[in-house]
C-alpha cells in the first residue's frame, strides 16, 4: 500500500505545483511548465510501478491461509472433542442400561481410540456382579460394542 500512497502524493503534489505555476506565468512559460509537470508525473508512475514486488502480497496471502487452516483445525478439534465426549458417555449409558436389565448397578467408562476418537477400544466397569452376570455382559459388550473380553476391566466395588 505504501507505494500507492507515495505515488498518489507525488502525482497530486506535482500537479498542484505545476498547475499553480502555469496559471501564474505567461502562455509560453505555462506550456513548458505543463510539459515538465507531465514528465514528472510519468516518471513518478513508472518508478512506482517498477518498485512493486508481487512477493509482498503473496506473502500476506500465505499468512492468511495458514491462519485460516489453524482456525479451521481448531473448529474440527472442538467438534471432535465434543463428539468423543458424547460417544463415550452414550456408550457408557448404553452399557449401564444393559446391565440394569440383568439386575446390576454398574458404572461404565468407555475409552475411545486416539486415532479416530470415535471407535471404542476399552471399558472400565465398576460395581457388584456374579460370575454368570459378568459373563453375559462381557459377551454383550463384545458383540454389540466391539470391545473384546481382554480389553474390559472389571473393578469389584461394594
Amino acid at each position: 500500500m505504501k507505494f500507492l500512497g507515495q505515488l498518489l502524493v507525488t502525482v497530486s503534489g506535482v500537479s498542484i505545483l505545476g498547475g499553480i505555476g502555469a496559471s501564474l506565468t505567461g502562455s509560453r512559460t505555462a506550456k513548458r511548465i505543463r510539459v515538465i509537470t507531465g514528465l514528472f508525473i510519468l516518471l513518478a508512475v513508472l518508478e512506482a510501478v517498477s518498485s512493486v514486488s508481487p512477493g509482498d502480497y503473496l506473502g500476506d496471502f500465505e499468512r492468511f491461509t495458514l491462519d485460516a487452516e489453524h482456525y479451521a483445525d481448531q473448529g474440527r478439534a472442538l467438534s471432535e472433542t465434543e463428539r468423543a465426549a458424547i460417544i463415550s458417555r452414550s456408550l457408557g449409558a448404553y452399557i449401564e442400561t444393559g446391565a440394569a436389565d440383568y439386575g446390576l448397578r454398574l458404572e461404565a467408562k468407555v475409552d475411545l481410540s486416539d486415532e479416530d476418537r470415535c471407535s471404542p477400544v476399552s471399558v472400565t466397569l465398576t460395581g457388584e456382579w456374579t460370575a454368570e452376570q459378568k459373563e453375559k455382559i462381557t459377551a454383550d459388550i463384545a458383540r454389540e460394542i466391539g470391545i473384546p473380553k481382554e480389553r474390559q476391566q472389571w473393578i469389584f466395588r461394594k
Binding site: 500500500m1 505504501k2 500507492l4 500512497g5 498518489l8 502524493v9 502525482v11 497530486s12 503534489g13 500537479s15 498542484i16 505545476g18 498547475g19 499553480i20 502555469a22 496559471s23 505543463r34 509537470t37 507531465g38 500476506d60 496471502f61 492468511f64 491461509t65 491462519d67 485460516a68 487452516e69 482456525y71 479451521a72 483445525d73 481448531q74 473448529g75 474440527r76 472442538l78 467438534s79 465434543e82 463428539r83 465426549a85 458424547i86 460417544i87 458417555r89 452414550s90 456408550l91 449409558a93 448404553y94 442400561t97 479416530d116 470415535c118 471407535s119 471404542p120 454389540e144 460394542i145 466391539g146
Partner: protein, 345 residues
C-alpha cells in the same frame, strides 16, 4: 422410556460447546446499540435505528450550517460579480476561499470519522472472523471455512490498510487539487482531479467484484470438497457395528446441531455488531453528502461554473469516503452471510 433417556442425554450434551465460542463485543457505543441475536433482522435494524436517529440532531444542524454558508457565499459571488470582469474574478476567488473554509472544517472531522470507523470495522473483523471460522469448521465445512477466512481477512486488511494509510492522506490532497483547480482554472489540475476520482471509483468496484467472484468460486470448489468429506464420514460410520454406528451417528448429529446453533448465533450477532459500528458514521457522512449534493444542484443554477464544480467536488469527496467505508462493511457483511450459509456466494 429408553428413548427419552437418550434424548435427555443428547440435549445435556448440546449445552456443552455453547460456552466455547462467543461473538466478540463491538467497541465503544456500538456495544450498547447492537441488539441481541434473538431478534429478527427487521426488529434488530429497527432497534438500532431507534437508538441512532435521535442522536443525529447536532449533525443535521452542522450539515445545514455548512450548506447555508456555501449557499450564501455562492449567492454573494453572483450578486457582487456582475459584468465587470476584474470584480467578478476577485469575488469568485473570495467565494471559493469562503466555501473551502466552510467545507474543510467539517470535512476534516468527517474524514477522521470515516478513518476511525474503518479502523473499528477492521479490528472487529479480526476478532469476529476467527470465531466464525472455528464455528463453521465445527459444522464440518473445513475447506469452506478456511477459504472464506483467507479471502475475507485478506480483503479486510487490504481495504482497511488502503483506506487508513493511503486514502485518508489522499483525500486531503484531492481536496487541495479541487480547490487549486477552482482557483486557477488550470486544465492539468482538472484532469488530475478527474483521473483521481475515476481511479478511486474503479478501485472500489474492482475490489468488490474480485471479492465476490472469489467467494463465488470458493462456494463451488470448497462446497464440493466438504460434501465429499461428509460422504466419506457417513460411509465410515456405516462400517461400524450397529450400536456404535448409531451412537456415533447421533453424536455427530447433536454436535452438528449445536455447532450450527452457535455459528448462527455468532453470525447474527456479528452482523448486528458490524451494522452498529457502521450505521451511525454512515448516516452522518450520508447526511452531509446528501445536503451538499442538493446545495451543489441549487448553486449550479445561478453561480459561476467554478464554484458549482467545487461544491460538486466536495460532495464527491464524501461519496468516496462513503464508498470506501461502505466497501469494508459490505465485505464483512457478505462474509458473515457466507459463514452463516456455510458456503461461498
Amino acid at each position: 422410556m429408553k428413548k427419552s433417556i437418550w434424548l435427555f442425554l443428547i440435549f445435556i450434551f448440546l449445552v456443552i460447546p455453547a460456552s466455547a465460542l462467543e461473538a466478540p463485543v463491538p467497541p465503544g457505543e456500538a456495544a450498547a446499540i447492537a441488539p441481541p441475536p434473538t431478534l429478527s433482522f427487521g426488529q434488530g435494524l429497527q432497534k438500532m435505528l431507534r437508538a441512532i436517529i435521535p442522536t443525529m440532531r447536532p449533525d443535521v444542524a452542522e450539515a445545514i450550517g455548512v450548506c447555508t454558508v456555501i449557499f450564501a457565499s455562492a449567492v454573494l459571488v453572483s450578486l457582487v460579480g456582475g459584468d465587470v470582469q476584474r470584480l467578478s474574478d476577485a469575488s469568485a476567488l473570495c467565494g471559493i476561499g469562503c466555501i473551502s473554509t466552510a467545507f474543510l472544517s467539517s470535512a476534516h472531522s468527517l474524514i477522521l470519522l470515516g478513518a476511525s470507523t474503518a479502523r473499528e470495522l477492521q479490528e472487529y473483523g479480526k476478532l469476529l472472523l476467527p470465531v466464525m471460522t472455528t464455528a463453521l469448521a465445527a459444522t464440518g465445512h473445513m475447506t469452506t471455512s478456511a477459504a472464506l477466512y483467507a479471502a475475507t481477512a485478506m480483503f479486510n486488511t487490504a481495504i482497511g490498510g488502503f483506506l487508513i494509510s493511503t486514502m485518508i492522506p489522499m483525500l486531503y490532497f484531492y481536496l487541495a487539487v479541487c480547490v487549486s483547480a477552482a482557483l486557477t482554472g488550470e486544465k492539468i489540475l482538472k484532469a488530475v482531479k478527474k483521473e483521481f476520482k475515476a481511479f478511486l471509483t474503479w478501485s472500489i468496484k474492482t475490489v468488490l467484484t474480485v471479492f465476490t467472484a472469489y467467494l463465488g468460486i470458493t462456494g463451488v470448489v470448497s462446497g464440493t470438497t466438504d460434501a465429499a468429506a461428509l460422504k466419506a464420514t457417513k460411509t465410515a460410520i456405516s462400517a461400524f457395528v450397529p450400536v456404535v454406528g448409531g451412537v456415533l451417528s447421533d453424536a455427530s448429529e447433536s454436535v452438528l446441531v449445536s455447532a450450527t446453533l452457535i455459528k448462527n448465533s455468532v453470525g447474527i450477532y456479528g452482523i448486528y455488531a458490524i451494522l452498529a459500528i457502521f450505521l451511525k458514521p454512515f448516516f452522518r457522512i450520508c447526511l452531509h453528502y446528501l445536503l451538499l449534493r442538493i446545495c451543489a444542484a441549487v448553486c449550479a443554477m445561478f453561480t459561476s461554473e467554478a464554484i458549482g464544480e467545487l461544491v460538486e467536488d466536495f460532495s464527491s469527496v464524501l461519496a468516496i469516503l462513503l464508498g470506501l467505508t461502505g466497501a469494508l462493511c459490505i465485505i464483512l457483511f457478505i462474509s458473515c452471510v457466507c459463514f452463516l450459509r456455510g458456503s461461498g456466494l
